[in-house]
Symmetry: C2
Subunit: 431 residues, 2 copies
């Protein structure tokens, strides 16, 4: 963890170093991924099954008939889930759905004085594939956060792929898929699953877009199939930035910093405060909380390598630092958090006041937890309903409107050396 | 040009071949681009000037002081433009602005029965760089189509880069920049311009997102800097698909097919009709029109290699073909074009009726002419105001709301093995 003070002479340099810290080691898996994709494209189900047997350590008994998870298996998984977790998932799904319903966009059409009708309409994507990691990173909450907006958008076919290493499959993941209306579930993962979703096999029909988190192989595969299908953002390690004043509770802040840090050794947790006392107390509170945290090893490494406590003279004056960090998650624990929030330009999601820990947003707040990382909140948004829809513009001229607009189009076409463009207008006006 | 008939035995195969036609030869320029970017990142202005001298064949007299195009130069360029073209540009800018103003999104906030306030707000990107190609592909209409939506979104800093091979700069491009409120113009192009926009030099401050068309070097550079900055889609060769019935005018349709084909030898123009007579007449009309078209060489190659005329029994039954082609531009020339348009899921832009040639949309219709190519209308939209904004979600719980939601968040955190998440909630509830 570094401690910075905005009044220090070397602050600009130290802050720039914090901003520039490379938190991800890009594994070069591109050649392997290229081979896997080629294999699935040419070999279809047979290649997919062979890759899956090998990479998920399944026996020869695993065949193409086992790719699809049956409704009966989902039923059985739901029955096996603890009631408390199922209830919590149900509450989360409802709240996520309500929030995302408000994102449904409106169509538009207007006819102007010239008689030109112009507008657009939104349509859902025809199909979406949702990648769900296997093993310990197999999070039911992520299934909801990806599948519910797709369903709200009206995507008629939502497909989920999830690897089952040694045959293991988290029943809560299946329950989340059921709750959010996933239509098809396949037990495949890795680059081979991405290839199947992009190009299709005998058993898995291709989709229009692939979303969801994954390891380096999945990320490389998504980059590689982009164009053939749409993809969502490639998520980096998680981040939280907390703005807090002297009245904030250092133990609560420490808990929030560690809730990020426990995700990944490359996660980043930063506190910016105008209180030296809070800075000192929080540093101690983090150490205290680490002593009993189950994932302390991960959290400690993250906090040690990428954590920061920055003392500033004035929180308002610190807003430019926030905009440069462009955090995935921004917590504001001050008396009037809305005031500071209103000054921020770049953040994925903002959590207002001391009773809104970021973890509420991870699960049951309603907003999406898939958010831009690695400073990309400067130019991108969290996942939402619009990511599962697309806009088609519409234009209609009647003969009179074409007479009014045509000469300008002809002039511009000719000025750009595109006589064919000009002629396609002129021929209709006998010009 | 291929002629297909949906009643032919081999139609499915022939249509699949048309769909799968690779129209782009991907030049492998990635290594060169990587070197150029590294050079600009480490060398700043000096590297940028050296690259520009060499690649745009400018003399040693070209220095960093010449990078920025002055207001006086823009004034002089505007004075040098023909009045007719300027008037047409002005009309186009006004219409594009009116159309895009309707795309400005709304913020949202709602407080539910539990006392949770959740919503989002949209903010403009802090800065945008617009790449404009030089030479013959330097289109003033593209400047408007990129810069006007950025300005409507409220982007406070819009930067344009344009190469000036042998010092040449199209005065209409500068006029379009002036009309659409571009703030800074630099005479640089290629991967070196993209690098400067992404990482900044002494003279060019970095931007948050880079948009606009370019050659293979520009496309590769945009891909490479993605993440550091946002980028728009990578545009492929242009396409038109025309749906027309027996009443359509074959000469008009031929003109529209060639208006696409004249763009690029890799452009694609397709007619789908339920009239054998129209199919035959259009094939002849294309040949006739080619004899006098200035860009006939390009248009002829595109039509020969990628053009198609498809006869179907019934236009409504052809809609699945349209959705699979997912054309950038779809013209519908039938008695009731709205009816067919309502059945289409995948298209970038639809032009309704015989008096709406696609070229109207290229210039003065109002909708954006930057549209998804290469079947990507299955999962993406044309350029719009939202591409220059981003959404930040907001969440606020009061103590009572946290008590209501907290237990579910704790349960889900524990079920995912993230005890730190659970504790950040529990500590506030004394649980």
């Amino acid at each position: 963890m570094v401690r910075l003070d905005s009044r220090d002479a070397n602050f600009r340099q130290a802050f720039a170093a914090l901003l520039g810290a490379k938190r991800e080691i890009a594994e070069d898996v591109d050649e392997i991924v290229r081979g896997i994709i080629r294999d699935v494209v040419s070999g279809g189900d047979a290649a997919l099954v062979a890759q899956t047997r090998r990479l998920d350590r399944l026996g020869d008994g695993f065949t193409a008939a086992d790719l699809r998870v049956s409704e009966a298996e989902v039923d059985a998984a739901v029955s096996a889930c603890p009631a408390e977790a199922l209830d919590a998932l149900r509450l989360a799904a409802e709240r996520i759905e309500t929030f995302h319903r408000a994102q449904l966009p409106s169509d538009h059409s207007a006819t102007d004085a010239l008689g030109v009708t112009a507008g657009w309409r939104w349509t859902a994507l025809e199909s979406v594939g949702l990648y769900v990691p296997g093993g310990t990173a197999s999070y039911p909450s992520s299934v909801l956060m990806n599948a519910v907006p797709a369903r709200v958008a009206g995507v008629p076919r939502v497909v989920m792929v999830v690897p089952t290493p040694e045959g293991q499959l988290n029943p809560l993941v299946l329950a989340a898929a059921r709750l959010s209306g996933v239509d098809e579930i396949f037990r495949v993962g890795g680059a081979q699953a991405v290839a199947a979703l992009a190009y299709g096999t005998e058993t898995i029909a291709p989709v229009a877009k692939i979303v969801g988190p994954g390891n380096a192989y999945v990320a490389a595969a998504k980059r590689r199939v982009f164009g053939q299908v749409g993809i969502d953002m490639i998520a980096g390690p998680s981040e939280v930035l907390i703005l807090a004043d002297a009245d904030a509770n250092p133990d609560w802040i420490a808990a929030d910093l560690l809730a990020q840090a426990e995700h990944d050794v490359a996660a980043q947790s930063i506190l910016i405060t105008d209180s030296q006392a809070l800075a000192d107390a929080t540093a101690l509170a983090v150490e205290r909380a680490l002593t009993t945290l189950p994932r302390a090893e991960t959290a400690r490494a993250s906090w040690r390598d990428y954590g920061a406590i920055i003392v500033v003279e004035d929180l308002e004056a610190a807003i430019p630092l926030v905009d440069r960090l462009a955090p995935e998650h921004l917590e504001i624990e001050t008396a009037d958090p809305e005031h500071l929030a209103g000054l921020v330009r770049n953040a994925g999601a903002i959590f207002l006041g001391s009773h809104t820990p970021e973890a509420i947003g991870d699960y049951v707040g309603g907003p999406n937890h898939v958010l831009p990382t690695a400073r990309s909140a400067r130019f991108s948004s969290g996942l939402g309903v619009l990511d599962f829809m697309k806009r088609t513009t519409l234009l209609r001229c009647d003969p009179q409107a074409l007479r009014a607009l045509g000469p300008a189009a002809i002039a511009l076409g000719r000025s750009e050396g595109l006589e064919g463009h000009a002629r396609s207008v002129a021929i209709r006006l006998n010009l």
